[in-house]
Every structure is written in structure tokens, then in C-alpha cells.
Symmetry: C2
């Protein structure tokens, strides 16, 4: 039995994780999710990426947005606005239940890992979803226009409009992998880095103590979140440009240099394969746009097969 | 200009407060509300009686139940149940917004009085609603079947079914009237004790330091929450019986002996007027059932007029 760990952020990562979950059993696949985006809002402990992955795996996610719940209502948020409360973060009525229950569990002393396990069971998520850490890591985006912003403010409140000058992960030095995440990573054969934002979704996971050294003993394959110089969703391409790098699949591969052996990019970016090979990374071009369930599953299968082939090399 | 303070609990008190608010200006009427029922649920700071009074004054209350919001939806609560969370307390989606915003304000260091003022403004409540205290007082009901219960568990979770053996107000010794409530009480001419539960809605207010001595200098009139030996809503009659007292308007008047000069009872209880007079209390019998807005306003007017007449005596 092969063991696979997927590293994921929000929407894009969740889609590939869903595809992998259609192919691999719960004993074969573990998904480790970024928690750098987590924040406390109105006293609620919110884990946006964990929620997106769980909702997607439970087939509860809104297919239009990729985040939040299908059939969501917004009655509380509308009233919150009437009361002068902050309405910039989209708190759906169904989504709120998850935040309330998680906040309650954490206040009772549960770890985020234990709370996520419990909530996954309740939602019918079969596969193991692990927050990257039970310690608090907070992604802060330094911007030209608005100084240092907590990630959700940068992302949701300011719609990624401010110009990024850098990113930091507050608390990363004292955070460590949970025992469960550490075991899963150590025991796996293959690590798949999902098509999530390298700057703010994957970096926080990789920067945690010991992760790089564990990854160095594994077959690691990343899937490009950039297609034709653009992202399907989110600010990754914009971030590359603001950091002085032309956004491209090759730029992502270069950012993962010495971390990955294989790189899955879109066929529209085939011309970058030579550049990627020069980094010592094996490129593999397929259709990477996950527009529906069948393309999610297809990309997952192609990525797994590719990783298996590389492993044998 | 006459100054009136109404002491109120939940639904019954809110109805009379609404009636008074139709007659008296915001400079003439202040409503001091029981906070012994307050509790923390799923990390939310909830003030059931304050909310009922505010929703009623803002014409936002559910006319069927008397508590909660008109046009409420229950999507979050339904999902909370799915997630295995506690669903015994009725958290409507609209109502949740109020709890979230208040909890947030309290966590920012606001007093309950300041948070209530802010939220009242947002809801369009014209009159001043004051929580009885900014210190935490918690009503605990001692019961035969389930031991000591926090009030909301007794009231909502167990539907007032356990047999009461006594009631205590945890924290009452160290609680004091807020400056605003103290000033309002000291400056008023007339105090109206609304038809709320004497055991658990009015007693907590009266037991706060200095309240009895301030009341002793005022014209105080109470309105009976018991009509024909029964309550319109809530466990007051059941509590009298369990405490070994036959529930009646006269029993309420006797409980308020030495505190009130006048007592408004329903005409169905006219035969108890002599018994009430024997306590040194002036009885006044009218229709006290507040079945619609016009009867609320009528009872408010008759109560005010009665208090004025007593004052002149």
C-alpha cells in the first residue's frame, strides 16, 4: 500500500485533494492543511483553509465559489451589518455553526487537530485532514499601501489589492507539526504539493520545523497553481509580479527547487519544461484546470502516476 | 416631567415596557432589566431578558413567542445539531448577530451597559434600557431532580420541569447597580415592577446592593404576573406551588410587602383585594392580559395613572 500526503491551502488545494480522495483510501491519503490563514473574528476561531478542504471533501462546498457552503444563507451577516458589526468576512449561517462548535471545542481545551477530526466525522469526511500545527501561526502580508496586514484582511477585506512587499509567518519558530502530521509525513512515500499559493499557503507548512528534512527523504511532486501566467483563483500570480518575478509555472518550480523532484504543469506552459529541467526537476505537462469533478480526479490520477514513475527512477 | 423606572424580566416585562414606551418619552422612562438569566453559550455572551426587552421595544420581537426575532431563520442551529453541538438553546440566525456583536464588544472591554446602549441605538430602540448591573450575577435554581441548575438550563433545556427547592443569585453580594441604573433609580418618582417572575426576574434586581433603600423613597407599583392562579408564560405559578405557596395575585403582593405601595391585579382576582389591603398595599384591579399592542398600552396607562394617584395620597 502506498502512502500519500497532500499539502494543501484553500480552494485549489481542496480540489486536488478531492480528486486524490476519490482514488486513494483513507489509509493511503492524509491531507495536511495550512493554518497560517487562521484568525479570530468576533471571538470565533476560524480556519479558512481547513474548512475549505473539509467542506470540499464532504461534498458540502459551494461549487461556484470553491469556499463556503452550498445552499448557504446570510441572515446573520445581514443583521450583523445592521448592528454595525464587521461584515467584511463572509460568515454564512451554516458556516457559523462550524466556527461556533470549533471555538467551543478549543475553549474546552481540545487541540485544533482533535477538533478537526471530530468535525470531519460529523461532516462525513472519510479521509484524514490535519491542520499543519496545533500552535498558532499567523501569516502577515507586508504591503505598500496598508502596512502589515493579517492575511484575511489582505485577502478578504482588501481583496488582495495592496501591493505585497513580503510575507511573514508569525509564530512559525515555535510551531511544530502535530504528532499526527509528523507521523503521516514520516510514514508516507509520496508528498503531493497541491496547486495552492506557494507564498502564503504552502510556505507556512514547509517552514515548520523538520518539514524540509522529512520531505528530503520523500518523493515530492508539486502541481502548478499558475497556468499561462495566471492563477485560477487568488493572488499568487500578482504576488510573483510584486516580488519582481514574472509569474509562470517555471517560477513556481524554481521556488520549490531542492524540495521537489517532479512538477506538474499545464500543457499551455509546455515551453517552460526545459527551464524546469534545468532546476533538476522533472516536468510533466497535462491539463491542470480542474473545472469539474472528472478533471479533478483525472489530474489527481495523472499526478499520482507521475509521482510513482519518478519514484522508480 | 415625571420620571419612571420600570423593572423588567423577559417577555411579560417587555410587553409592559413597550406599553410604557408608547406613553412616556425617552427622558421620562428608563427600563432596568434582569441579567441573572445571562449566560455564556458556545462562547457567546447571551443576555436573554435584555434581548427580549430590546427586541420588543424595537418592534423586532416575534409576536408569537414574545422572545426572539420576527422572521427568524434557524439555519445555523440546524447545522450545529448536525455537527453534534448543543442545540437546546434557540439560537436564531438573526439573534446570533446580536450575540456575536455583544460578545465582541465585551471582549473589547466594553461594559454590558455600554454594549446595550450601542446595540439599542443600532436597533432603533429610543428609550434607555439598562442591564441591572455590569457585574456578573447568575441565577441558579436548586431542583429535586437535577440538583443546582443555571437558569437557562432549568428554563430552556429542562422546560422548567424539575421541582424547584430554592433559588440563589451567584455573585449578587459583589454586584452593584451601574452608575446609569443608580442615577435613573435615584432620580425617578415612580418605579413600576413589571409583570415578570418575582422569584427569578425581579428578585435579582431588588437584591442588588442599595436597591431596596432607594426604592423605599419612591412610589413603587407592581403589576401581577399571575392571573387566576396561573402565569401567561413562564414558571412563576409553578414556583409558588413548589415553594409551598398557593399561586395567586395576593401571593405576589405579599412577596413584595414593604417594597410596594400599589398593586395592579387582574379583575378575575378582585376577590383578593381585601387580602392585599391587609398587607398595607393598595390594590387596583383592571384587565391585565396583554394580548395585543392596544392592551399593552392600556395597561401601561392605567398602571401609570394608578401610581400617580397613589403618589398624591
Amino acid at each position: 500500500m502506498k502512502k500519500v500526503v497532500a499539502l494543501a491551502g484553500g480552494v485549489g488545494g481542496a480540489k486536488l485533494a478531492w480528486g486524490l480522495a476519490q482514488i486513494l483510501s483513507k489509509d493511503e491519503l492524509t491531507i495536511i492543511v495550512n493554518t497560517g490563514d487562521d484568525f479570530t473574528h468576533l471571538g470565533l476561531d476560524i480556519s479558512p483553509d481547513v474548512d475549505t478542504v473539509c467542506y470540499t471533501l464532504a461534498n458540502l462546498a459551494n461549487p461556484e465559489t470553491g469556499w463556503g457552503r452550498q445552499g448557504e444563507s446570510w441572515n446573520c451577516l445581514g443583521e450583523l451589518k445592521e448592528l454595525g458589526g464587521p461584515d467584511w468576512f463572509n460568515l454564512g449561517d451554516l458556516d457559523l455553526a462550524l466556527h461556533l462548535e470549533r471555538t467551543f471545542l478549543l475553549q474546552q481545551g481540545w487541540s485544533l487537530t482533535a477538533a478537526t477530526k471530530y468535525l470531519c466525522e460529523k461532516m462525513g469526511v472519510v479521509h484524514v485532514v490535519l491542520p499543519m500545527s496545533d500552535q498558532q501561526v499567523r501569516t502577515l502580508v507586508s504591503t505598500v499601501e496598508r502596512g502589515v496586514l493579517p492575511f484575511q484582511e489582505y485577502f478578504v477585506k482588501y481583496h488582495c489589492e495592496p501591493t505585497m512587499t513580503g510575507v511573514q509567518f508569525q509564530g512559525i519558530e515555535s510551531a511544530f507539526l502535530s504528532e499526527q502530521a509528523s507521523t503521516a509525513l514520516k510514514e508516507c512515500d509520496i508528498v503531493i504539493i497541491c496547486p495552492s499559493n506557494p507564498w502564503v499557503s504552502i510556505s507556512p507548512i514547509i517552514e515548520i520545523k523538520d518539514v524540509k528534512s522529512i520531505l528530503s527523504t520523500k518523493t515530492v511532486v508539486a502541481v502548478s497553481p499558475i497556468i499561462g501566467g495566471k492563477t485560477v483563483k487568488g493572488p499568487a500570480a500578482k504576488m510573483y509580479a510584486e516580488m519582481g518575478i514574472v509569474p509562470s509555472a517555471a517560477a513556481v518550480a524554481e521556488q520549490y527547487e531542492r524540495l521537489i523532484q517532479g512538477f506538474v504543469l499545464d500543457i499551455v506552459d509546455e515551453d517552460q519544461m526545459q527551464q524546469i529541467r534545468q532546476c533538476g526537476i522533472i516536468p510533466f505537462a497535462v491539463n491542470t484546470l480542474m473545472s469539474d469533478n472528472s478533471t479533478r480526479e483525472k489530474l489527481a490520477r495523472e499526478t499520482l502516476d507521475f509521482a510513482e514513475r519518478i519514484k522508480k527512477v
